[in-house]
């Protein structure tokens, strides 16, 4: 994303104030940060009879990490505990080595874009972000606010109060307020909601830049395409539990012991379907027009054997297409497995 030109004495995107915040002594753009910037240890959160989060443990380093899960999975509750907005019922949450609920310095190093749409509706965007900068003690809050708004492609001189903004503009105002003090830990709850595809792509670029600079960027989403685009480490949360973690490829490998579905378009689909079952390559098949939908426990074997089988049947293969090789399938499988 083309970032606005940072003022003199500061570094590039996401790092307008990097040199100030990181301290120039280490000579790097990123601060001297601990490996586990966010550490969640055996954390549970119980609201009355509802267990929102159950015995979750993970640590998050710098870079972009996505918290993936359906609505009500406990993502926002985990984020709230990280920010100190609520205490865990059991376990501990440490951000930069401290409890944000108790340590005001750590609170100053967190940028949060909450899920709720609420803003100070009587303020315009510049005022809103300016207040965020001032309350974080940013040395030049007006410049910082303008920079942050331009970063999210909002006009700092727009005189309208934010109550007149569209959902996407409100979302970007929240993001600007979360970014304005160049936090070490950025916690963004469903930050891409309401953004159009172009804005979404650009925002993902910004987040990746921040992650590459050594910031810890935590993003929650229930939209799997967003997480796939982020190309990040993924923590899958379902029913308050951490059900899987890793990058997309690692999560995909978790799937090897479950049936995969492959669509094979070919001549003589009925013959091909019978041959797939007979050879043990597929455990179940159905024919839809010229396509064979095959369920297999070993997708690699099917890939190796489909061509010789078709040759033997004198059938011409047109396409071989995995039907569940996307994050949606991984996610659904992991959630249903619980």
């Amino acid at each position: 994303m083309p970032a606005p030109e940072p003022p003199a004495g500061s570094t590039a995107v996401g790092g307008k104030y990097s040199s100030e915040l990181a301290g120039e002594a280490n000579g790097a753009g990123a601060p001297d940060l601990p490996a586990g910037m966010v550490e969640v240890h055996s954390v549970s959160k119980i609201f009355g009879d509802v267990v929102a989060v159950s015995d979750v443990t993970f640590a998050v380093r710098s870079g972009v990490t996505a918290l993936l899960g359906p609505n009500g999975a406990g993502k926002s509750t985990l984020f709230r505990m990280m920010c100190g907005l609520t205490s865990p019922s059991r376990g501990s949450v440490r951000v930069l080595g401290a409890d944000a609920r108790l340590d005001r310095d750590v609170r100053g190093r967190i940028g949060l874009s909450p899920q709720q749409d609420a803003l100070f509706d009587r303020l315009d965007a510049l005022d809103f972000v300016h207040i965020a900068a001032e309350t974080h003690g940013v040395a030049d809050p007006v410049d910082a606010a303008r920079w942050a708004l331009e970063l999210v492609e909002l006009n700092p001189d727009d005189p309208r109060p934010v109550s007149g903004y569209s959902k996407g503009m409100r979302q970007r105002t929240k993001l600007a307020a979360a970014l304005v003090h160049d936090p070490d830990v950025l916690i963004l709850d469903e930050p891409l909601n309401g953004l159009d595809p172009l804005q979404r792509r650009r925002m993902i670029d910004v987040l990746e830049d921040l992650g590459a600079q050594g910031r810890c960027v935590l993003v929650s989403s229930h939209v799997l395409e967003e997480v796939a685009l982020l190309g990040s480490r993924i923590l899958v949360i379902a029913q308050g539990r951490l059900v899987a973690s890793g990058d997309y490829r690692e999560l995909r490998e978790l799937m090897d012991d479950r049936p995969h579905q492959v669509s094979v378009e070919a001549d003589k689909p009925r013959n091909l379907a019978a041959a797939l079952v007979e050879s043990g390559t597929a455990v179940a098949v159905r024919v839809e027009g010229s396509a064979v939908i095959a369920d297999t426990l070993d997708v690699d074997r099917l890939g190796r054997e489909i061509a010789p089988l078709a040759r033997r049947l004198d059938a011409r293969l047109r396409t071989v297409l995995p039907l569940d090789d996307d994050l949606e399938s991984v996610f659904r499988y992991l959630v249903e497995r619980r």
Binding site: G97, G108, L112, T135, H136, G137
Partner: protein, 266 residues
């Protein structure tokens, strides 16, 4: 793993937000959030009603040939019965409960809570914002209404002065109390109205002990002592009333600060 000290060290170049600065920043936000045309118009109309009725009371008492002492008593009673019992608590409740209560309910409190600032400035800013808006809406009608009800007889200045002191200190004490109520309860205005009607309105009639636990009695004492009028249920010394109202304000703000430290923020 980093220690809190190490964490703090890397942010040392960021300016620390001191208590006064934090109070000013929060005040700027909160005062803009609590003021709305609807609230000002409705509560302004209530105050205007008090002033108009006070003028009518004063005029009719004068025409009926009431004595000076009677006019003074009527003015003080009117300032108490309308100003201190209705306007001061209601106006304070509307703005003070909204200051942090609305922010908590609508989810904007997070934008002031998750900051490297103490909690006391946030509570103080809420009370200050509330008092700033409430004070003119409480003091002007209470003073003018009470004064007009005396029809400016000799000694009416004492009623105005007593009304001023009682309305001002009452507004401050109620505002601090209702900031706390706004943090303790959702739908704080309903709880506040219940408190005003059931406790301040009825329970004080239950006897001396109950009266001691009501703010109204202390505010009324200020008016009665300064105006030199016997209003009943205003049996404290002037200094006692001032100290109690100041203590209620301070304790309410202290409890609001504690509440902010432990509150679950959406």
């Amino acid at each position: 793993m980093s220690t809190p000290a190490a964490a703090a060290a890397s942010t040392a170049v960021r300016r620390r937000v001191g208590a006064v600065r934090a109070t000013v920043l929060c005040y700027r936000v909160l005062i803009r959030q609590i003021v709305s045309m609807g609230r000002i118009a409705a509560l302004g109309a209530l105050g205007t009603t008090m002033i108009v009725v006070g003028w009518v009371v004063g005029s009719s008492s004068s025409r009926n040939g009431s004595s000076t002492a009677g006019m003074i008593f009527d003015g003080a009673s009117y300032a108490d019965g309308f100003g201190l019992i209705v306007i001061v608590p209601i106006v304070s409740l509307v703005f003070a409960a909204a200051s942090l209560g609305d922010a908590r309910d609508d989810g904007t409190l997070v934008y002031l809570w998750l900051r490297p600032m103490g909690r006391a400035p946030l509570a103080a800013a809420a009370a200050l914002a509330s008092v700033t808006v409430s004070l003119p809406l409480c003091v002007v009608p209470t003073v003018l209404g009470g004064w007009l009800a005396t029809d400016f007889v000799a000694g009416s200045g004492r009623v105005a002065l007593g009304s001023l002191a009682a309305a001002a200190l009452g507004t401050i004490a109620y505002s601090c109390l209702f900031v706390l109520v706004g943090l303790l309860f959702r739908k704080a205005v309903l709880w506040g109205i219940a408190y005003i009607l059931l406790w301040e309105g009825l329970a004080v009639g239950l006897g001396d002990f109950a009266e001691r636990l009501s703010l109204r009695g202390y505010a009324r004492t200020l008016l009665a002592r300064i105006a030199d009028v016997d209003l009943g249920f205003a049996t404290y010394r002037l200094v006692t009333a001032v100290i109690v109202l100041a203590c209620v304000s301070a304790v309410s703000l202290a409890l609001a600060t504690v509440r902010l430290r432990h509150i679950d923020v959406d």
